[in-house]
């Protein structure tokens, strides 16, 4: 009855989101919408890395695909929000499938390099074709709360509801996928590709499917980002974004969906909080602007040193629980290694 448990958990979370959104101020609503964007993107990445054992530095590019799909579909076809989100996810998934076909042949640093190239190259298309994508200025996206909620309903609360609601649905779907036959197959491939192939699993197909799922999540997150910031522009999809997603996934705990939430909280809240502290203490101007970046790095280092399997792993250890079955430290991922699977076997024997 895992489905019932996941849906129940999501409903409890939905009530919590509703309570928070009506009791906190509009800026907190706005941050909630921001965090939800990262939850979806990081959850998609953590499934890819933690479960299927493939790395991607290019999920920022899939977010760009989803975001631009949202803007273009709204601008030219005037689709409503509820149709834009799934459509953007599907379009990004199609991109993910194409990349996944190439990715299924690559391992470790080569896969990281190929996806890195995607993150760097894809957003520059927007400046190459300014007629379609609006160049550096990007495209506008309009979100209006439904009339049924009343004219005075705050936009920020509506954004918090839409984005947090979408994030919860994604988490339920991913949680079920991870517990399904597909999720178990991914873990089998991650742990030992050769054994998985011998057991009859379609290794290449499953690896591509993982990319598709991850890209769909990133595309959906891109659509949510477009809604939340009411625009899309290439400046939002720099390499820093892709690295921030990876950072969030590692900090939270690879392969853990709860970890995706922790990672998002760190990625979104730490820089804002530190900026506020730095500016309110009147630090010298050269120092204050760079403190958020430095603090972010320190948090990252501390988390990795103290909780090698991420915050979620640390939380479980605090409560005396075993580490989550799905989660795995990055260092254990066979497919991140450079050597062919045959030699991996001998190595595993020596551990």
């Amino acid at each position: 009855m895992t489905l019932a448990r996941h849906v129940g958990g999501a409903l409890v979370a939905a009530v919590a989101v509703w309570a928070l959104s009506v009791s906190l101020g509009s800026f907190r609503d706005y941050q909630m919408a921001d965090i939800a964007v990262y939850v979806v993107a990081i959850a998609g990445l953590t499934v890819l890395i933690g479960l299927s054992g493939q790395i991607s530095l290019g999920n920022g590019a899939f977010m760009a695909v989803g975001a631009y799909a949202t803007a273009l579909l709204q601008m030219h076809l005037n689709w409503p929000l509820w149709a834009l989100f799934p459509a953007s996810a599907v379009i990004a998934a199609a991109f993910g499938a194409a990349v996944g076909v190439a990715a299924a042949r690559l391992r470790g640093p080569y896969l990281a390099g190929a996806t890195l190239m995607l993150a760097v190259a894809l957003p520059t298309l927007a400046t190459q074709f300014p007629g379609v994508f609006g160049g550096d200025q990007g495209l506008p996206v309009t979100v209006i709360p439904p009339a049924a909620l009343g004219a005075a309903f705050p936009l920020t609360r509506w954004l918090a509801w839409v984005n947090a609601g979408t994030a919860l649905i994604v988490l339920v779907l991913l949680a079920n996928l991870a517990r399904s036959r597909i999720g178990r197959s991914w873990q089998a491939i991650r742990d030992d590709e050769t054994a998985a192939a011998l057991a009859g699993l379609n290794v290449a197909g499953l690896r591509i499917l993982a990319f598709v799922v991850s890209a769909a999540c990133a595309g959906l997150a891109g659509a949510m980002l477009a809604a939340y910031s009411s625009q899309v522009s290439p400046g939002s999809f720099t390499l820093t974004l892709s690295i921030a997603l990876l950072t969030g996934a590692v900090i939270g705990g690879l392969g853990s969906l709860a970890g995706a939430l922790w990672g998002s909280l760190v990625v979104v809240l730490v820089p804002t909080y530190v900026t506020n502290v730095a500016t309110s203490h009147g630090l010298s101007s050269t120092v204050a602007a760079n403190i958020p970046v430095a603090a972010y790095g320190v948090v990252l280092i501390v988390v990795i040193l103290v909780f090698p399997d991420g915050i979620q792993g640390g939380v479980r250890r605090l409560f005396g629980l075993p580490p989550p079955t799905a989660a795995v430290p990055l260092a254990r991922l066979n497919s991140l290694r450079r050597r062919p699977p045959s030699s991996e076997h001998q190595e595993e024997g020596t551990t």
Partner: protein, 442 residues
């Protein structure tokens, strides 16, 4: 587990941190000024003793070099005003957040400033793509959005954006003024364009085309700021036989243009928008880029003779009362920054804001500030008057032509004024420039 593999996680984490830091670059940030007392608020952000305003600025990231000096310079002038009685007894507190020139970050910065910090107005938000991302939100919240730090003509749209005002000379006007000068002084010569392929360069070219006969323009080359290889464009300009090259480019790309021309033995007369010709910045970039390529050049020698324009007094004009005032404020409150074009800009736009606040009345609401500017502002540090009215939200209307000599812009001839329409004439300004008030306060 194999030991070498255990190292992977910290290695990747460290790489991610390093990458994030490199990507973020460096810069500087705000320093708050004064305290607050009992509140008799007339508007959000306005108490009996304080006016809180906010901004988004590229303090880190690709646009930070140079531009990160602007907000501290504005803040220096506000501190000067605060030390001399403030605005109707209220001290200005200026909170500016770093957006790294990322429009999505701009949006969240401005939401924080408006919804959480409750600022009275957004002042001098920097950048066209960044500020465009937030202009609808500011107008829907009826937050005064004054003196955007960008020359896009898009801020002048009072029916759509009644709260938004430009300040600096817009790029269309600038293109027209440079174009009129070229038409007059380089009649019959072959002209090539070199411009940034976004609204900045395109608006500039629009202005140039309003003035320069199309038959004279032999080549139009554009660049995108992310691609630093301008060799092909410069080769095309050379092949076209252009005798005059007009550049609407940021300082880094003027430097690249100059160095690539040098390499190809191509030496046209260079006419360039003031956006990219602050001699100190441009000279420094030329020397730095040449050094990277293993050559030594003199910035002053290479910038010598570049024709440009200016809407603020030239930094070299030490006898000018505005330069004297802003130098004094700079030396007292912002001495660590070089006294360059960015600092002058930051102080001058801050002066304009204090002008507008003084006019907005003793207990100003947000609407008071907007209607004060709609009623027009007296000419300040800029060499030409403002265009402000209820139906016109663009700022400075004119500029002079200058030539760079020995690392400073030397003013040539009169100040020209014009409008942003295709047919409006470019005329010599007959009014006089204003001297800075002795008190340094508007």
């Amino acid at each position: 587990m194999n030991r070498s593999h255990r190292l992977r996680v910290p290695a990747i984490a460290a790489a991610a941190v390093a990458a994030a830091m490199v990507a973020a670059g460096c810069g500087s940030s705000s320093s708050p000024s004064s305290s607050s007392g009992a509140a008799t608020a007339s508007a959000p952000g306005v108490t009996a003793t304080q006016i809180l305003i906010g901004s988004h600025q590229p303090l880190t990231g690709p646009a930070a070099p140079g531009y990160s000096e602007i907000a501290p310079a504005s803040n220096a002038y506000f501190q000067y005003v605060n030390a001399h009685g403030g605005v109707n007894g209220r001290k200005i507190k200026y909170t500016y957040l770093d957006d790294g020139y990322d429009p999505a970050k701009t949006v969240s910065d401005v939401h924080q400033l408006v919804l959480q910090n409750n600022v009275y107005a957004i002042f001098d938000g920097l950048g066209t793509p960044t500020h465009l991302a937030t202009v609808s939100f500011l107008n829907s919240q009826k937050v005064p959005d004054v003196f955007v730090a960008s020359g896009c003509d898009c801020w002048n749209d009072p029916s759509k954006y009644p709260q938004t005002f430009g300040w600096q000379l817009d790029y269309i006007r600038e293109g027209k003024i440079l174009g009129a000068y070229i038409k007059q002084h380089f009649a019959g010569k072959k002209i090539g364009y070199f411009f940034q392929n976004d609204e900045f360069g395109q608006d500039g070219v629009k202005g140039l085309d309003y003035e320069i006969p199309h038959s004279q323009v032999v080549s139009r080359q554009s660049y995108v700021p992310t691609n630093v290889n301008v060799g092909p464009q410069v080769a095309a300009l050379k092949a076209s036989g252009a005798q005059v090259v007009v550049s609407f480019a940021i300082p880094a790309f003027n430097a690249l243009l100059k160095l690539a021309s040098l390499k190809l033995g191509f030496s046209p007369t260079l006419v360039a928008s003031s956006v990219g010709t602050d001699p100190m910045t441009l000279g420094g970039l030329l020397e730095a880029f040449a050094k990277k390529g293993g050559a030594t050049v003199s910035g002053n020698a290479l910038t010598q003779g570049i024709i440009t324009d200016g809407y603020l007094p030239t930094l070299g004009d030490t006898g000018n009362s505005w330069i004297a005032l802003f130098k004094k404020v700079h030396d007292q409150y912002d001495a660590k920054a070089p006294f360059d074009g960015n600092v002058l800009y930051g102080e001058a736009v801050a002066y304009a804001f204090v002008q507008a606040m003084m006019k907005a009345g003793k207990n100003p609401t947000r609407a008071d500030l907007v209607s004060a500017i709609n009623g027009g502002l007296p000419q300040g540090p800029a060499v030409a008057p403002y265009a402000y009215s209820a139906s016109n939200h663009s700022g400075t209307t004119g500029a002079y032509i200058g030539v760079i000599k020995k690392g400073v812009v030397a003013k040539q001839g009169p100040v020209y004024v014009t409008d942003a329409t295709p047919t409006g004439a470019v005329t010599a300004y007959t009014g006089s420039e204003q001297a800075a008030p002795g008190s340094g306060m508007p």
